[in-house]
Every structure is written in structure tokens, then in C-alpha cells.
Amino acid sequence: MSGATLLKESGPKEVFCGLTSIVWLHRRMPDAFFLVVGSRTCAHLIQSAAGVMIFAEPRFGTAILEERDLAGLADAHDELDRVVKNLLARRPEIKTLFLVGSCPSEVIKIDLSRVAENLNIELKGQVTVLNYSGSGIETTFTQGEDGALKALIPLMPKSNQKKLLLVGTLANAVEDRLISIFNRLGIDNVESFPPRQSTELPSIGPKTKVLLTQPYLTDTARELKNKGAEIIDAPFPLGVTGSTLWIQAAANLFGIDKSIVDSILNPLISRAKQALAPHVEKLSGKKLFLLPESQLEIPLARFLSNECGMEIVEIGTPYLNRDLMKAEIDLLPPDCRIVEGQHVEKQLDRVRDSSPDLVVCGMGLANPLEAEGISTKWSIEMVFSPIHGIDQASDLAELFSRPLRRHDILNPKTLTSN
């Protein structure tokens, strides 16, 4: 590890729970439905985070527990069974149904795996029913995707073909672009997980080489390893450097000649750096504070300090997986302060004390900080925007330079006479 300082903090937290991942997972796999087994709070959370009203019939919903469901557990299982069958009758296009555990369902110990098992027997393969937990007592925000992917792994067919598997949800256009670059390098067999259709799962085996596209897939990576796949050590594909190292790591493993890799990547790199330049000018020397939420904080800090010249005050991260994050932490500037966990009040005190130019934070905290004159960027935007890969580096930088530009437009520096 580099000279980064790793600290731990506990106290009141201000983060989303794993249920929030449904907001992008349902878009990735339009033939899947996510049924949260939870409370009115769960339903309200997802609709508040996702602006659900734009959907006629969204591909996610909540089976809301009511008082009588709490009275006897056998009833809760039967009730869930009934709700699922009604839903499937109404929505015949659903191919995969995820039963998503929540805080209340975990606390009262509703056995979703048993419900899923029974339903799978009854439905005879017409619909596959899976389960995972997105509860806030166990998961934070993006960890929900980890759970959903892990639930899909047992369904992946076996294969002995040598292939590159990109793991983690990407924007479709970015994914196409990355695959086309790998093809150009001579890696022809490239697949993605999760797939665009829940039923078209990629195969897996000892010759599968996995490149993680997202830093929050701890359990998924472990399960893929158990299936014989090799997880390629690399930083994550954010920014020019991260994306280049990420692509090179796969190219090395596939024995692609360095000269070929360079000849293909170098033009992309110099073009990306050119596009990055105006943002670097804006961001360079500015102080950045990242509050914990999406788990992308460390790779983002690495990009913004190394490639955009920002000064990192503090990197908050909900939890730290040292193995998956090692390559990232090694690239961080020395003495970078990483705080795992959160005490939101103390952290906000540190934000105010350090008067940063930009704070990356959740939606609940952004306007209060803006009202104090501190520019912010929503961390949730990182999981919705196409930001991965060399070609997207300037778009990624722009997400951070825009709030600063806007601040300058609205608050022009005026010369004062006294």
C-alpha cells in the first residue's frame, strides 16, 4: 500500500441502502423485475431516489408488509407467494424475478430463498425467481448490485472457452465502446455480466478472465473466483490512466504484444488528454472532499488528483475492501486521508473546517452545503452517467468542473475599492 492514511470512524451515517441499486439494475435488464419485500419506507425510498412517476408500470415494486404479516411467519410466506403470482399474471413479459430482502424482512427473518425455491418448482422455468438482500442493516447503496449479481452466478453455464468477462453494470454505449477496443486489440471473446437480457447469461469456467468495471463487487468477485475464473488485478476504468492500466492488464494476460497495445491505445490517450485539458485547468489546485456513499470515491479521488491536479482533503468510503482497492490505493498521492465508515456530523465539521472547493456527497446533503457556499456534486450521478473508459475521461472531469464553472458564473469576482 502507498502512504495513504487509513482511518475508521463510526456514528450516524448518511447513505442510501442497497435497495437503491434497483434504480439502475432494472434498466440494465429490462426483462427482469425487482420485488422488494419490505415496508412502506422501502417503497418510498425507491420512488424518491428514482423519480418513479415517469414509468407507466415500473419494473420494480414493493410487497409491503402489514400488521397481519408480522403476526405469523407462515402467513407472510403464503402472502408473498400470492403477491408474486398476481404480479406474474399481470406482467407476463417478466423472465427473471428478484425477491429483494429489506431491513424489516431480514429482522423478522422471512426466508426469501425458500419462497424462491418453491416458486421455481411451481413455475417450471417460465420465470426464474432469485433472491438477495438490499437491506440497509447489511448493505450500502451500490452493494445491492453486488448481491443481485451474486444471485445470478449459480445460473451461469459452464464453459472452457478462453474469454474476457467484464463484470459490473455499464452504460450500454460505453460497454460497446470498450468491447470494440478489446476486439481491436485481438481479444475477440468478450462478454458482459450482468447481461442486457437476464436470460442471456454469459458462461464461466477456469479460462474466464474477469475485469471488474465497478469497485463494489466484493461478493460477486469471490463467487466468480470460486467458479474458477481469474480476477485480473487492475485499477478501475475511470480516467485515462485507470482505463489504460485496466485495458493493459487484460491485454497482458491475453498475451497481446505491447507494441500492438500501444499503437491502439496511444492515439486514444493523447486525444483524451487533449479533451481533458480545459477541465484540468479548472480543477487544478482545487480542494476536494469526498463523503462516503457510492464506493467509487477512491477511484474518483485517484483520477481527480493524479490527472486533474485536485488536492484531496479527505476520501470517505462506506467500507474498504483492501484487496479489490489495492491497485487504486497504490496510485493515490502519499498522505492521502481515507476514512472508512462515517460520523456524518463530525465529517461535516471537517468539511467546514477545511473549506473545500468541491464536495462529492449524497442528495440529502448537497443543498445544505450549497447554501453554505460550498459547491457540490451528487455521488448518485456517477452511477447513472457514462463515465468509464479512456474516451469518457473528459466527460467524467466535466461532471466536477461544471459546478465550479457555474459557481464562478453566478458569483463573479468583483474588484472592491476598499
Binding site: 412502506r40 425510498l45 480545459p278 456530523e345 447554501a371
Partner: protein, 525 residues
């Protein structure tokens, strides 16, 4: 168990947060897991609040459940009191904490603080947001005023002062509450009535203690304040108004009720027809076309009831559907629907509401933001009259619903989505002319989307036919076109033009995937 794709109301602790955040010098410790902190964004995003809700979440985790969660709760309570120094502390739990039964309210009361502690028990598996708000407001008022002596009080006449009233019920995330309070204050001022306390919005615990100084309570939002008003009437002999001043008729009735409660003579000006412009606008010739327009109404109880009266009596619409998502208000909505020859729709299922809209085929929908979306899908004009709140329901401009100005706002908001009278005649007259674009409905902005797409396609064909005519023009390869097609349609035309300009400058004969990215980098730099 109930399958819910979308819900009109949040859980009851969200109602409690609305009260806590509306008030000052008060803090709410909420025993809840980390995900429940999403609720902050309702206030900081929808209301654009520049401060965080005064809420400490205990954010317990699965690993805490094996240990002593009660100690964890006490730790958070102590830290919150030390840091925020509230005058009154609210303590409660969300759905998950309710299951582990730590009794945070009792814990807090045993910690020896010298401030009032309000322990909230809001059953999360049977009640909802408005109920939670109402219960929280009631518990705060009861806790702070339960020892208030109920001895004989002089009337305002005896004390030779102006009468004064409390305005009870306005909250954050309530529909246009901020502006309603200003409008009612102005209205009361015109009739010589002073406002004593506004609560919960903007009130501190000390203000709550001043509630007994008023002669009458004005119950502005029964969903939130009715149970409190009843308690204050029973225990402190303060009568309250039951008419909600939404619409011209209801504002007149409200003023009459208030004058009677205060034993004041009702002034003639209450009945004058020029108090609100709604009356004349509705009588003007252009409004003739409003006669019998079929209108479907759905919302919270108070706003749905008021909308039905305004639509029926003041605008001359025909109400073809009336309903509410608040079960607590069903008792009042049912007879109102019956009087209009309808059966009230009491439901929390928006698809059922959409179904009812489809079935009644109204010409205007008055509903929540969800009905706005349903109406959009069905191609029916819609105005929003009720919570749940959306960022659009917190306009920058002054836009009350209550009182005379509120009636003006309502006239504009409801009538503008419809076609204007003369406009409707002209379209009827000219629709067979060749200049007339089929399906022209200027008031339905969303249908314009189709036209936009057409013009985009036109640009596209024009450019590609141009590029065919000249040999010097760069040619799009299949890959290039495919890459271009992934760009959102609304910027695609611009990207196409920029890329072609770039290709011309760079001397490219072909535009492929790479050229697109080259051009992108070129224009970004």
C-alpha cells in the same frame, strides 16, 4: 401484504419528520437503519431547503442487533442533545426499529434531561405519512400544554384588544403551505384579526406554549391539525374553524364561521363579488366554453373536497370522478361524492385511479403529480391540486391556494391547461384548412414531442441528401452511423453537423466510429 409500485404517502415517521423540520429549536432522534436517511432529500431536494432536517438517525446495522442496541440508542440521543441543544426532543422509530422494540422514547425519558421529551409511537405497518404528521403535532402540543391551567379566560372584547387566532396545520412538504399562510394572514388582517401563532411551520416549542393566548384556532389542514384542534377545544376551550378557505365560496364561509366564533358582526364585504377575480373571470364570455367540462378529481381529502366544490359551483364544470388516497378523510369525501351523484374512489393504487380516469374520459384531470403522468399518457390536460410533493409544487413565485388570491391562482392553474374559449372556436372553424396541422393542441405541450421528432428526421434527410450530391463531402460509414445512432436524438443533429465540419477540416473522406470520437475531443478542447 400489498403490492405497491408507487405510493401516495410515505410511512408515518416521514410525517413526524415533516413536523420536526417545519419547527424550530426541536430535534428528532429516529431509531432507524442507514437507508432511512434518504428522507433528508425530500426536504433538501423537493423543497430545496438550505439546511438539513433536524434529525439524528441511529443507523444501526445487522451486527448491532446481537449486542445492546439500547445503549447505541442512548449514545445517539446524548450526542444529539449535546450537539443541537434542542428545547424539545422528539424520539421515535421507523419500521425496522419498531420490530426490535428498544422503546427509545422510554430510554430517553430515563436519561435525566431537563427538556420536554415527546415519545412517538407511530405504527409503521398500519399507518401512513399524514397520520404520522397529525399524531406527532398532537403529541408535541399535548406534551407542552398538558399542565397549562384551564382557568377562566377573558374574551378579546373584555380585554379591549383585537381578536387573535392560531393558524394550525401548515407544514413543509404540504401543498403550497408557505404561501397559504401569508395569504390567510393578509386576509385576517383585513378583517381586524391578528395571528397569534402559526404552527407547526416556523414555530418553536416556546411558540407552542403561546397557543392558549388565542381566541380561536384556524384549522387550515385537517389532515395535520384536526386532532390537535379537537384536543385544544376540549382541554383549553379554544374553538376552531372547520371550513378550509379554498375557493371563493369556502373563503366566504370561512370568514363567516370565524366571525361567528369570535362573536363579531359579519361585514358586507365578505360577500362582495370582486374579492377574487375568479368570480368575474368565470362569468366572462370566454369562460362559456367551460360549461359542463368533464373533470376528474383525485388528491388528499382537503384539496379533493375543495376542488369538487370549486369545479361544480364556481367554474361550472361537471365533476365525473372524485376520490382520495387518505383513508382518514374517506368519511368526508364519500358524502361529497354522493351529492354529485358519484361513488367516491378511495384507494392507494394509482393504477386504479388511472383506470377510473380512462373509464370516465374526462376533459380535465385535477390530481396529484401521479395523475399528471397518467393524464399525460392518456392525452388529457391536467392540473396538480394536492400532495405528494414534487419539485414543481414549490414554485419560486407567490402561489397560494387559499383565500382570494388562492382562488385567482386556482382559476389560472386549472383553466390554462384547457384550450381558451375563442381558440377552441377558431380551431373548430379552421380545422379543415390545409394550413391546419392535424392534432394541433397548443395547450398539450407533450404532444409536441412528435413534431420535434419529425423536424429532426427532416434535418437528417436533408443533410444526408446534401452529402450525396457533392463528391467532396465526407461519407458516413456503417460503423459511424451506428455510433451516431446511440447519441440521444435531441443532440444527434448537432453531433452530426459538428462531426461533418470536423471531417471536412481534417480532410477525412469517411466518417467512422473514430472520426466521431476525434470530433468530440476536438470540440471539447
Amino acid at each position: 401484504m400489498e403490492l405497491t409500485l408507487w405510493t401516495y404517502e410515505g410511512p408515518p415517521h416521514i410525517g413526524a419528520m415533516r413536523i420536526a423540520t417545519s419547527m424550530k429549536k426541536l430535534h428528532y432522534v429516529l431509531h432507524a437503519p442507514q437507508g432511512d436517511t434518504y428522507a433528508d432529500l425530500l426536504f433538501t431536494m423537493i423543497e430545496r431547503r438550505g439546511s438539513r432536517p433536524p434529525v439524528t438517525y441511529t443507523t444501526f446495522q445487522a451486527r448491532d442487533l446481537g449486542g445492546d442496541t439500547a445503549e447505541l440508542v442512548k449514545g445517539h440521543i446524548k450526542e444529539a442533545v449535546d450537539r443541537f441543544k434542542p428545547e424539545t426532543l422528539l424520539v421515535g422509530e421507523s419500521c425496522t426499529a419498531e420490530l426490535i422494540q428498544d422503546q427509545p422514547g422510554s430510554l430517553a425519558k430515563g436519561m435525566g434531561f431537563d427538556i420536554p421529551i415527546v415519545s412517538l409511537e407511530l405504527p409503521a405497518y398500519s399507518k401512513k405519512e399524514n397520520w404520522g404528521g397529525s399524531e406527532t403535532f398532537y403529541q408535541i402540543v399535548r406534551t407542552l400544554l398538558k399542565d397549562h391551567s384551564n382557568e377562566f379566560k377573558h374574551t378579546w372584547q373584555e380585554e379591549k384588544r383585537r381578536p387573535r387566532v392560531n393558524l394550525l396545520g401548515p407544514t413543509l412538504l404540504g401543498f403550497r403551505c408557505r404561501d397559504d399562510v401569508l395569504e390567510i394572514q393578509k386576509l385576517l388582517g383585513q378583517y381586524g384579526v391578528d395571528v397569534n401563532v402559526v404552527a407547526p411551520l416556523g414555530a418553536s416549542p416556546a411558540d407552542i406554549m403561546r397557543i392558549p393566548n388565542a381566541d380561536v384556532n384556524v384549522c387550515l389542514y385537517p389532515e395535520i391539525a384536526e386532532s390537535t384542534c379537537i384536543w385544544l377545544e376540549r382541554n383549553l376551550n379554544i374553538p376552531f374553524t372547520t371550513t378550509v378557505p379554498l375557493g371563493v365560496g369556502a373563503t366566504q364561509d370561512f370568514l363567516k364561521e370565524l366571525h361567528e366564533l369570535l362573536e363579531m358582526e359579519i361585514p358586507q364585504s365578505v360577500n362582495e363579488s370582486n374579492n377574487s377575480k375568479l368570480t368575474w373571470y368565470s362569468n366572462s364570455v370566454d369562460s362559456n366554453y367551460l360549461t359542463g367540462k368533464r373533470v376528474f378529481i383525485f388528491g388528499d381529502g382537503t384539496h379533493a373536497l375543495a376542488a369538487a366544490r370549486i369545479a361544480n359551483e364556481e367554474l361550472g364544470f361537471k365533476v365525473v370522478g372524485l376520490g382520495t388516497y387518505s383513508r382518514e378523510m374517506a368519511r368526508k369525501v364519500r358524502p361529497a361524492a354522493k351529492a354529485l351523484g358519484l361513488e367516491a374512489l378511495i384507494t392507494n393504487d394509482y393504477l386504479e385511479v388511472e383506470g377510473a380516469i380512462k373509464e370516465t374520459s374526462p376533459e380535465l384531470v385535477l390530481g396529484t403529480q401521479m395523475e399528471r403522468h397518467s393524464a399525460k399518457r392518456l392525452g388529457i390536460p391536467c392540473a396538480v391540486i394536492s400532495t405528494p410533493m414534487h419539485v414543481q409544487d414549490v414554485p419560486a413565485r407567490y402561489s397560494p391556494q387559499m383565500g382570494w388570491e388562492g382562488a385567482n391562482v386556482i382559476f389560472d392553474d386549472w383553466v390554462h391547461p384547457l384550450m381558451m374559449g375563442l381558440e377552441e372556436h377558431l380551431i373548430g372553424m379552421f380545422k379543415h384548412d390545409f394550413e391546419f396541422v392535424d392534432g394541433h393542441q397548443s395547450h398539450l405541450g407533450h404532444l409536441g414531442g412528435k413534431g420535434n421528432q419529425n423536424s429532426n428526421e427532416e434535418v437528417k434527410t436533408k443533410i444526408s441528401s446534401d452529402s450525396k450530391t457533392s463528391n467532396a463531402e465526407p461519407i458516413w460509414t456503417h460503423e459511424g452511423e451506428r455510433e451516431l445512432s446511440k447519441i440521444p436524438f435531441f443532440v444527434r443533429g448537432k453531433v452530426r453537423r459538428n462531426t461533418e465540419n470536423y471531417a471536412r477540416q481534417a480532410g477525412c473522406r469517411e466518417i467512422n466510429e473514430e472520426t466521431l470520437y476525434d470530433a468530440k475531443a476536438h470540440y471539447k478542447a
